[in-house]
Symmetry: C2
Subunit: 422 residues, 2 copies
């Protein structure tokens, strides 16, 4: 494929005209497609409808009536299910409500109000800073931003966050209190942290003794093409006596229902005790009937794994469309680059510098809504203005094919426009 | 009935011996009964089992799939249902998760972290104080205590909190930022705030411009003997331009399932906008399927009212047992006094001063667990050591009769012991 730098100005103008013509055709077709969020499709949700019919008894194995008050930190059956699935002891797990984001927000709010394991409440400090591997998950960044925490962008590498930078910053500045991590099939790039990255995160010296890693394992069992498993972060952290550093999150939002799944938090014994202490003031307990639904529906961890193979079967053709279309339409031209994720929920592309916003705007004008450009960076500021997150899960394969054709066209058109400006 | 002050010392000794004999009999019977919390009975929960079978479609009236992401503040159907029930406009309602306590905790945590409608975050202030009408709900007091807020006990009258004291304190001290209220069938006394009390709460001058009333209408439709309705707090507050003062809470914890109901928050437009702003960072949304279950099961506000009549039918014989036994065993003897609630979940008694702890301890030794004495006061400190909360909902009528026989015996025994000490 012809490389972007090989075009003469005349050729660029010719290409621009050709692309504009194609773009005009697209606009006439009045597409209407929202690919802005990582939402499961209806078909994928249908796979879990059975969970709404499994509740026929309510007595839990410890004798508690799941309909009544009682049990703060999750029913024992659900703890065991997720313990088996994630290989984390039940004692280190708290089952929450329907949202792991909510558990994360509450964790940071508690650090602000009460500190962590005896440290000064962060709201009493003059300055709190946070490391944000980017591109990353916009809702993570919104949480830290809303608390007035200063966010520092850390670039991603194919092995995870740039660990030289992380070690240097966290080691020197005691106002840096933690970092966001999506260690497996990262949102949006699909990067899986290498063993070395995880070891360095667990072993590094941090200037703040209450430095916390928010380990959002959102896609922990969400393989699509391959089965990738991470180094066990708790085993590794324990080895370096830093197990209190890790706050681990998981949910079934993308296993059963995003609106009505079950979320969990896992942490060291000390952290679990502290979270429970605060949680016992905040609530009498989360929805035990929904926890029981999940236990009855899946039965075992293998039940969840099997279910995930079904979801992967639905998602694979969609990821195929995205990756094949990118390969066919952009290839090695240089108009954009991307990684090929093996699982998760997103494909992430980098356009030519300064072209992401225009690409997204062009797509929107032709009826395809993408995640706003910049959203994958702290404060919505992509320093290169090049990152675009593609969420292939919601549309049908046919719609997605249309949308990808349009997106590739917009990437090239924005690229050509930019090159002709210079 | 013979009055406590009419007993000679000899008669007291005689009574003590008689009571001790009866108490020994009770101990031999090895009762095992937990009346510590206001939990519905299994029979009462069974009345709602049908709600677990109503979900057959998931499309909401605005086209959203209730299984998927989307809708931060509650499905329109559920807002309308509770709007009709509580006579609050849908626009002023946010539907939350399964716990109104959690909504209240989050509200106070937000005031601490962010202030309210532009005020200084409370965590930045040297001192924050709070008015606590008492006896009151122990979990309310735990929330304010956990945030380091200094609690001031305000006595209850048959018309609600002592409003002279409330007006004086709130009017003078700008560090007093709010108060807890359970306006209808208050926990634990079953007091219903008079029209005058509500008017004074809505109209009073407060030194703190961001003074907030946490209006926990937990028993808003929980009539047992009579149907009592309060003055509309929002209408009244608006009249005095103080609508931003009221944060209103309600839940179906004691309508459907305590573990799996639906909670809501209602407030002024400005407050709703501010809560939504923060909530949109905290979560993508609460469990819409459970909201839809409640809508489909009840259909209309009348459906809820009818359901509540069924629950009242279950609860009435239990309240009868408590009140009749108190009348028969204690009567006007002066060993204890109580109010006769017309609804709610509790009957509250006041023993002779200095006798509540011993009464609860005696009952426990004979196998009946009551709410710990003092729990109904801030910091667990009942200045008179006389208040005991009775929660009649969980036991069967027969068990409850046994427990009440024992409790009345313990009240008198503790009373006699105290009188003989002096």
């Amino acid at each position: 494929m012809k490389k972007v730098e090989e075009y003469t100005e005349e050729e660029l103008v010719y290409l621009q005209n050709k692309l504009l013509e194609q773009y005009a055709h697209f606009k006439h077709r009045h597409l209407q497609l929202d690919m802005s969020r990582g939402k499961p499709s209806s078909e994928q949700l249908d796979r879990s409808n059975g969970i709404l019919r499994v509740l026929d008894s309510f007595e839990l194995e410890d004798g508690v009536d799941a309909r009544n008050y009682g049990i703060l930190d999750g029913i024992p059956e659900a703890k065991r299910l997720f313990s088996d699935l994630l290989r984390i002891p039940s004692a280190n797990i708290i089952i929450g409500g329907n949202s792991s984001l909510n558990l994360m927000y509450d964790t940071i709010a508690r650090f602000m109000l009460f500190g962590s394991l005896g440290s000064t409440p962060w709201c009493k400090l003059e300055k709190v800073k946070w490391l944000c591997p980017s591109p990353g998950y916009d809702r993570h960044f919104s949480v830290t931003e809303s608390m007035g925490i200063e966010m520092i962008t850390v670039p991603m590498t194919p092995d995870g966050p740039d660990m030289d930078m992380v070690e240097e910053l966290a080691g020197q500045d005691e106002s840096i209190k933690g970092m966001w991590c999506v260690p497996l099939y990262s949102n949006p790039q699909g990067i899986c942290y290498s063993a070395e990255t995880i070891e360095r995160l667990c072993s590094m010296r941090t200037a703040a003794p209450d430095f916390r890693i928010m380990w959002d394992n959102a896609y922990g069992v969400h393989d699509i093409y391959e089965k990738i498993r991470l180094k066990d972060v708790f085993v590794m952290a324990k080895k370096f006596h830093n197990e209190d550093r890790i706050m681990y999150y998981f949910s079934t939002s993308k296993i059963t229902f995003p609106g009505a799944g079950v979320a969990l938090l896992a942490a060291s014994e000390k952290n679990i005790a502290e979270v429970k202490k605060h949680m016992s003031i905040q609530t009498i307990g989360y929805d035990k009937l929904n926890q029981l639904r999940h236990v009855k529906y899946f039965g075992t961890a293998d039940g969840i794994r099997e279910h995930m193979q079904g979801l992967a079967k639905d998602l694979r053709p969609k990821f195929d469309v995205v990756l094949h279309t990118l390969e066919r339409e952009i290839g090695d031209s240089g108009f954009a680059s991307w990684m090929e994720p093996k699982g998760g929920y997103f494909v992430d592309i980098d356009t030519l510098p300064g072209c992401a916003k225009e690409t997204v705007a062009l797509a929107k004008e032709a009826g395809v809504i993408l995640t706003p450009a910049g959203a994958t960076y702290p404060y919505g500021l992509d320093p290169q203005d090049s990152n675009i997150r593609i969420a292939p899960s919601f549309p049908t394969v046919e719609e997605l094919q249309e949308a990808m054709n349009l997106l590739c066209l917009c990437v090239k058109l924005a690229g050509v426009n930019k090159l002709l400006e210079i």
